[in-house]
Amino acid sequence: MFKGPVESKNEAAMSELVPEPRQKPVVPMKPTGINTNLLGYIGIDTIIEQMRKKTMKTGFDFNIMVVGQSGLGKSTLVNTLFKSQVSRKSSSWNREEKIPKTVEIKAIGHVIEEGGVKMKLTVIDTPGFGDQINNENCWEPIEKYINEQYEKFLKEEVNIARKKRIPDTRVHCCLYFISPTGHSLRPLDLEFMKHLSKVVNIIPVIAKADTMTLEEKTEFKQRVRKELEVNGIEFYPQKEFDEDLEDKTENDKIRQESMPFAVVGSDKEYQVNGKRVLGRKTPWGIIEVENLTHCEFALLRDFVIRTHLQDLKEVTHNIHYETYRAKRLNDNGGLPPMTVETEENHESNL
């Protein structure tokens, strides 16, 4: 069972310069089905339980970045996703906050706990993106930030005495908010995704989807999907990283039918049919955020949190980070970047 062209590409690039290819993190192998006649119960499957206990104790990091023009509901959506006020909305009308002149990167961390599992969630906001008259290269600060996180991780890794658990500030997932014009993508959307789909997992999301009727939504999604395909933009889940047939069919369905998710966010609750639901109240009805006939928020939530969270982290670590690392090693002549700083770190670690 091979992982496809990615591994061989990396190996080819690195075998010329680095003698041994890195070991990929261990992934439990799927049973091959040959020796299924076990004479007794050994207990190998308890490893899953051990891993679970470990994860619960250590907790895990998740870093999500939101990118899009101001006013598209980014903060509200993140708050709705994690059912807590993890992102401060810039729509608090009392503040005199103006649109920043350049793109700023603001990372805010929270610890959320659920069912005994602790998650250190960091939400990275990018105010000022796409809001100026001249938006040329406004993605550069974002690209720089992402690469800086990879650099930080790399420096920790090549340390002689390194920490047991390297703090992971790398961006695992980037939600890109598309304005629901109903027509097509904007040139800025294309440029951004072209540049960044190679360094980070991008999940395109159609914001404020309550603007569109069902037909308009389907048409718009089709057009956006086609545009992304024509321009060679690989959003997450990328086709080339599907591990086996099972993944492929599941991801194909998501890629070709559901994505980009058309979402509506809200942190207000209303009474509908005797239940309290999150929604938006308008003179002509209440839009329920978690109702699949109204919008696809529930699909996005399940996708990002309930099914693909670990995969997002893995793809970031195994693919995007490795690509960055290979590039850095290549630039450095095949040697890990040993700088004076690393020695200082080494001393401070003692």
Binding site: Q69, S70, G71, L72, G73, S90, S91, W93, I99, D131, Q132, I133, N134, N135, E136, S179, P180, T181, G182, H183, S184, L185, R186, P187, L188, D189, L190, E191, A207, K208, D210, T211, T213, L214, R223, E227, V230, N231, R280, K281, T282, P283, W284, G285, I286, I287, E288, T293, H294
Partner: protein
């Protein structure tokens, strides 16, 4: 006062009645025959609902074979000006309506040059009218000047964007601006109020002059005064456009059908569409007047002050001045070089060690 004669000339009710009170009716009849001309410009980013709103306002389909370009094509495109004219007739009154669309506005990554095309279009129309007005044959002057500009503000933002502010400041002295927020079904009522207030505050903060509805005359009836008050209080208008007929509450209305309800275009509780339409219709005459008396006159006096010299002449003059200055600079540099050479020779002749370099640079 005889009632037996079928009077051809209305008999005066009181002696001394001349009859020129009939003049407005004559004017009315003549203008109805002549028809009205109105040019409306719509400006705003793609996808804000401009075309749908225009079609809804005038109950027509102004863009029958429309192809919406993809993002990759939009990267290459610059702002275009597309004018479509439609003749609408209602109860014998003809209106020749020209809608000037500006596709490509706000689409590019760098929108620095977005409004140059639009401003030169507006100026061109003024220029043409000025030329016709000063010409010999003035019977059939066609008025293509832009009487009103609907500027579309995105309902998704938190107020005005930098581009909105810059554009409105550039044209508020040339055309009547009516700010409009389309796709208003994105917003709840509270959000709408907040957005309207925020926009009005920002407009005042930046000193943008939008079109102000004239107050009702004191001799108008109360209903009209009340209506004008309501209209003034609702600017900018939050509208929803649609030409689709939906079945709601037993009757067919124009609206948008969502899984959670129906938005009715002509329901004043749902959006300000009716108010916008009323404003446009009742103030069409006023919009034309302000264009003529204020914007056109401004343009005209500026133009004539420049003495008929067009803008290109000024640029040519600038080039000439530049050339002259460059020649002067060259002359001075030559002079300095000569002086330096002289000093060098003097030094070499005098001291004999050529080590001292003064190193003065002009």
């Amino acid at each position: 006062m005889s009632k037996q004669q079928p009077a051809q000339f209305t008999n005066p009710e009181t002696p001394g009645y001349v009859g020129f009170a009939n003049l407005p009716n004559q004017v009315h009849r003549k203008s109805v025959k002549k028809g009205f001309e109105f040019t409306l410009m719509v400006v705003g980013e793609s996808g804000l609902g401009k075309s749908t709103l225009i079609n809804s306002l005038f109950l027509t389909d102004l863009y029958p074979e429309r192809i919406i370009p993809g993002a990759a094509e939009k990267i290459e495109r610059t702002v275009q000006i597309e004018a479509s004219t439609v003749e609408i007739e209602e109860r014998g009154v003809k209106l020749r309506l020209t809608v000037v669309d500006t596709p490509g506005y706000g689409d590019a990554i760098n929108c620095r040059d977005c409004f140059k095309t639009i401003i030169s279009y507006i100026d061109e129309q003024f220029e043409r009218y000025l030329h016709d007005e000063s010409g010999l044959n003035r019977r059939h002057i066609i008025d293509n000047r832009v009487h009103c500009c609907f500027y579309f503000i995105s309902p998704f933002g938190h107020g005005l964007k930098p581009l909105d502010v810059e554009f409105m400041k550039a044209i508020h002295n040339k055309v009547n601006i009516v700010p409009v927020i389309a796709k208003a079904d994105t917003l709840s009522l509270k959000e709408r109020e907040r957005l309207k207030k925020r926009i009005l505050d920002e407009i005042e903060e930046h000193g943008i002059k939008i079109y102000h509805l004239p107050d009702a005359e004191s001799d108008e009836d109360e209903d009209f005064k009340e209506q004008t008050r309501l209209l003034k209080a609702s600017i900018p208008f939050c509208v929803v456009g649609s030409n689709q007929l939906i079945e709601a509450k037993g009757k067919k209305v124009r609206g948008r059908l969502y899984p959670w309800g129906v938005v009715e275009v002509e329901n004043p509780e749902h959006n300000d569409f009716l108010k916008l339409r009323t404003m446009l219709i009742t103030h069409m005459q006023d919009l034309q007047e302000v264009t003529q008396d204020l914007h056109y006159e401004n343009f005209r006096s500026e133009r004539l002050k420049r003495g008929g010299r067009k803008i290109e002449d000024e640029e040519v003059n600038k080039d000439q001045i530049l050339l002259e200055k460059e020649a002067e600079l060259r002359r001075m540099q030559e002079m300095i070089a000569r002086m330096q050479a002289q000093m060098q020779m003097q030094r070499q002749a005098g001291e004999g060690d050529g080590g001292a370099v003064h190193g003065h640079h002009v």
